[in-house]
Point group: C2
Amino acid sequence: MDLSKGKQLIEGPLKLVGLGIESIVEGAKAAGANVVEVTFQPPAGGDATRMRALAKLFEPPLAEKIDAANQIALERLLESRPTLVGVGVAREVIPGMSDDLILHAGPPITWERMAGPLRGAIIGGLIYEGKATTPEEAEALAASGKIRFDPCHHHHAVGPMAGVVTASMPVWIVEDMAGANAGNRTYCTLNEGLGKVLRFGAYNDEVVTRLKFIERTLGPVLGRTMAGRGPIDLKMIMAQALQMGDEGHNRNRAGTSLLFRELAPAMVRFGGEAEDVAKCLDFISKNDHFILNLTMPMAKCMLMATEGIAHATVLSVMARNGTDFGIQVASMPGRWFTGPAQLIRGLYFPGFTDEHANPDIGDSAITETAGFGAFCMAAAPAIVQFVGGTVNDALKNSRQMGRITVGKNSLFQIPALGFEGSPTGIDVRLVEEKNQLPVINTGIAHKAAGVGQVGAGLVSPPWECFHQALTAIVEQENA
Amino acid sequence: MDLSKGKQLIEGPLKLVGLGIESIVEGAKAAGANVVEVTFQPPAGGDATRMRALAKLFEPPLAEKIDAANQIALERLLESRPTLVGVGVAREVIPGMSDDLILHAGPPITWERMAGPLRGAIIGGLIYEGKATTPEEAEALAASGKIRFDPCHHHHAVGPMAGVVTASMPVWIVEDMAGANAGNRTYCTLNEGLGKVLRFGAYNDEVVTRLKFIERTLGPVLGRTMAGRGPIDLKMIMAQALQMGDEGHNRNRAGTSLLFRELAPAMVRFGGEAEDVAKCLDFISKNDHFILNLTMPMAKCMLMATEGIAHATVLSVMARNGTDFGIQVASMPGRWFTGPAQLIRGLYFPGFTDEHANPDIGDSAITETAGFGAFCMAAAPAIVQFVGGTVNDALKNSRQMGRITVGKNSLFQIPALGFEGSPTGIDVRLVEEKNQLPVINTGIAHKAAGVGQVGAGLVSPPWECFHQALTAIVEQENA
């Protein structure tokens, strides 16, 4: 274990170093000693049970077994090749999807415990599907038990913010084209843009009209386009976008532009009527975040390749439903470790404050789980103007994430760090040892249903997720 | 004057500091003294005449007059709004263009003194125009005196590398939409892409066939597109591209992508036949440098706004024809100060070395003259992989250019330098005072006609240009 966290550069004459034991420090100060106080953080926050558990996981031979498993997980993640292969309709292509099922972001949750923006998106989804005509009807239906709710992740799907997927929505189909998990498929809806949108919990006519455009025009045009042009390698676009100021979560201007360049000629050739194609080109061109709904299933696809590797302690999922934050560990696929979703530290749109903010929501933390997003903030200095902070904060952030990850993704390079690979593979053990939570950058939704986005910022999972995961790992290993 | 250039951090015990006067230093060393040698560079390279000239230009009241004029020049440059307004045919839209005239990059030059790549491009241009059927015929015609040659800059045009413009070529039309110089128009051909291309001196069938596609399909499609959609603000695209890893000279992937997003929907609506539009979309999408031929006339348009400001000592032009490097000063529009084009320090494509390289060529140094290109290399870390060097070199480069420029462009921000504005307005006085030439990044053409690009790197103008300009400024001011 690395106990060096307490070290810091100390200049000048030194009489005594205080490590936080107040009675001693105060006594020494009172006696006139020159005391330099440094923050000493023992591993696992100093909790005796967790420190013992951690020690076991870092001791041979178990440590070697876990290290080897984590390296296999990293290799699988790196060798996966998530490829955009087409567009389908949710009910036809997502495994287990049906007309009475609504998918949502984060770990499982009942209607009663759902946060405002998730409820808002479900209300909008039911109106969009024609199952309700008013928000009141939709709420009554949602509470009636006639509609089932499931996490996107239980269906190989991911969704930004509320992450609501209903049966009629068109979805991207991403397929792993390489490695041990070739053939894995993941899914995500098409990005709606900013403003009043379903994923932030808005459900007015504007929202539903746009969803109908996506269903009737954008989805079919892109479906024909992909069928005509053939697959698109998403990792190559992401690699380029990281050289162009994106981090693939909240900064997506470059990736969207590169995807647009790939799609546009084929949209003209295969997409259908010229005016429909022009409308779709306009719609994509005006939405810098269009590719987010592809970086997410790309990340999910990369991480699916790590699922089921015995002994691996790296995360395969981080996801939030607006009430709970849930993580999954690669060696225990499908098992959630949850804690309360946190409030986001960030910048608010004019007229809004943290009083209006819903806690953390969305499957988009899958980007950080796969080693980009906030983990690559050093590649996206412009994002600090969006989430707050300075360019140096962004650099520091990427370096800190290097302390809790098991390797680097040499394809996803960060120019400002001398083209170093992105820190990849969050190890539950390292998070506990370094007392360093993963950092996520994210939009902030209004806490009431029907409003929408109010800001953006940085957030971390609650410690509970990692403490539970640590306990489960120790139990699993009989350590 | 700042005489601090000789300073450097000196550690350890110090007996004597040697400033380069060898006899003293060597004598002291021989006597056993501990000598630290530092490079002392007096202003103007220590030339007595130029030092006196410089001193006059930095003394009140002349200094105030020049400073004020340079600030006006900077303001005019910053307030200009170069806007893409359309596409026309060179003979119809470029002032003074005619069928027996060929425009080229750099200062004026005769056929006899032209370098290989410029000759190659002229051969290609004559074949393309149907004035010759073989390279030999074209050379004979070029040497006959029946064809006139003029710098692009004499016609408000700019051209990358050889910069050849013939009468039938489609050209972008850029118009200044704001400031004292609203209505100024500049021109540039449409970028051909990489590989065997006219601008690098190639002239085979592939080159001519592509030029015909540009004339018959791309130009008309883009002309109809621009007429249908209306103008595009080029500075806004450049500002965004600098946040996305471009510097607007040799790294243009982001700007090309953003321009593509602006153009594509309108190309579908107004461009004409779907298959023609699809071909044009493909052509643009596959050429990361497509926007170079718009960043150049944008820069030219910004700098035209500075021309004719009495007393201004900032540059309005830097341009090379492959034999000579020429600069112009804002207060003396149209007057060239020239010296020999330099060899480029850079990286070569496999199979080529500096033996194959032609000296510096092209009007593209107009980008550096306007404060971007190599002046913004810190914004484009990926470019160091193309021209050689490290990310730190790129940062250093942008900082050094700040020493010879009169201000910052707050719209063109460099993220890696804390969003500092790009160093803008190269002052002849500062170049001489700091002994610091402007840095330019550039492609390297093969020195023989007909070959093409062999590498890319960094280069500077020859000192002669600045020495002549300094003399002319002093004469003009009767100083």
